[in-house]
Symmetry: C2
């Protein structure tokens, strides 16, 4: 039994767990803005998670997980696997709690993400995305230290933590005098955020968006079983969403709740990044722009009060400038 299978066996993510996570997160993190954006005459509510201290929603799940560890677990440290946003979330939470953190990151992760993770005091262990399994590298580290694995998506606490973004969306819509959301469009890598949002908002339609070539969850939902990505070398700028395959704890929620899943092209992602720059004055990384990209491209039709996730914002300046000026 792997660490994740064990975690899933001892804890099932629930709405009550999301609510408990929300109480903890509200104590340390202000709500990120929910910004209205007009798209073809409709208002799309954009959850600006790049404004978290680490530039991405991943801080939510990491805080819920690490703050629930007992003293003995904290003393043994934590190991995370991540291309960079979850890495920073775990490193941030570990630093705040005085826990040693080791993060397994792909050697081709964006420079900004590698540097930010190290700057938060975490030890970084690199692996080759094409030839090595990050889970195997992490398992080796855990075997040595007895550290707790904090998986990027396949962890009940992480799922519940990410779901707190959904609780905030509900509360912020109410502040605007709006009831909802009727639909949430979520970026989707391994499905941690999407499954958390599904738990948080039991009455909302959940739509997921993956980048072209990395649409394993869409294919899995169609097949009714977990399928891996076909080609681990398929080129994409959405490094945050390059997940080889989802985990059962995510899949069980998503297959009950996802009403639609689509993939988006690099061009569609670039258009969304540009709209976010010009209309919202925010920096969104490619992987964080896919949900809005799907709406702007007409691949997902908003339904009633529709919210989209915008996260994260950790993109190297050169790539950002190159993508957006090419689109102009």
């Amino acid at each position: 039994m792997t660490g994740q299978e064990l975690a899933a066996a001892i804890k099932t993510p629930t709405l009550e767990g999301v609510q408990r996570a929300m109480a903890k997160i509200a104590d340390i993190l202000p709500k990120t803005p929910l910004l209205p954006l007009e798209v073809d005459g409709a208002t799309i509510w954009c959850k600006a998670e790049m404004l978290q201290p680490i530039g991405a929603f991943k801080i939510r799940g990491a805080w819920h997980r690490l703050s629930d560890l007992n003293a003995a677990e904290r003393a043994r440290g934590v190991v995370g696997v991540s291309s960079g946003n979850h890495a920073q979330g775990v490193a941030w939470a570990a630093k705040k709690l005085g826990i040693a953190a080791t993060i397994v990151m792909p050697s081709n992760a964006p420079r900004m993400k590698l540097e930010a993770t190290k700057a938060l005091g975490a030890e970084v262990v690199l692996y080759d995305r094409a030839t090595e399994s990050r889970d195997a590298v992490a398992a080796g580290l855990i075997a040595q230290s007895g550290a707790t694995l904090v998986h990027a998506f396949g962890d009940p606490w992480v799922i519940e933590g990410q779901g707190t973004a959904g609780i905030e969306i509900v509360e912020q819509l109410a502040d605007f005098g709006v009831s909802g959301p009727d639909m949430i469009v979520s970026c989707c890598g391994g499905g941690g955020l999407a499954s958390g949002l599904a738990l948080a908002c039991p009455d909302a339609d959940i739509a997921i968006v993956e980048p072209e070539g990395w649409d394993d969850i869409i294919r899995s939902l169609e097949a009714g079983e977990i399928l891996p990505v076909k080609n681990l070398l398929y080129p994409t700028y959405c490094d945050a969403l390059q997940t080889p395959q989802t985990y059962p704890v995510n899949f069980e929620i998503l297959r009950q709740r996802v009403s639609k899943g689509v993939s988006v092209t690099t061009q569609e992602v670039t258009t969304a990044m540009r709209v976010v720059f010009e209309k919202l004055h925010l920096v969104v990384e490619p992987g964080g722009a896919v949900a809005l990209a799907a709406v702007l491209a007409g691949k997902i039709q908003p339904k009633g009060v529709t919210a989209v996730t915008l996260s994260g914002g950790n993109v190297d300046l050169d790539l950002f400038a190159k993508m957006l000026t090419q689109a102009a």
Copy 2:
């Protein structure tokens, strides 16, 4: 007596006026985030005003002014003068209130600002920044229509409205468990925001920052009298701060309250824009980055709990990409 002299004669901006404006603005605009940024071990609190619906703090003063007009005034319309942010603020408020708005804008205003102002339904009248007086152009329009002038900074309502950003800073610091601010560093064009913040936070040090070559208020404070900009053709990317000279209503407040004034170079502005991109994941236009630029450059030493204004975010993508990649 000009319209502004008349306005100043009939109304003096006050803290009570700022508080009344705050009550009106809280009804329609969520607080913009106050984001902590670590600079040399100190926390600088950044007021992210580019997240206003028009991408700049100018929406505050425009709303306070226009919503205070009576029915007869509303029927005659409003005229604004602006390089683009105040233009959008007036256009936004006018649209919401059903008031006709005409905006006098420089012919070389950023494309994004011109388009956004028109998109909000305002009529735009262009003038040549080097050879024409925007105030004279506005006066001509007002003579025809009887419209109310909504000046970009020399208006008591506008000053009070901009000051509401200071009220929010105080409240948001309290949410973080912090008392303050001890110092506010404000971008400064004509001094509308800086004088409003001074009223809002009577116990705070007020520091102002202007772009190189457009340091008329700094020179005016040193001279003890209002002086104009020396060279209206001095090149700058800070179009939002290209104000020929301040007005008495601003100057009277600033000379009692400003503890320090400095100017910043294009290179210093560019560095600040890059830090905001990488650390806060926000888009700030050159004129909106000058306050942080002065702190990062060491030209202004933070004092106790220090807040800086970040506003606006209305910068053309090509210029943004050019400035930031050159700095890399």
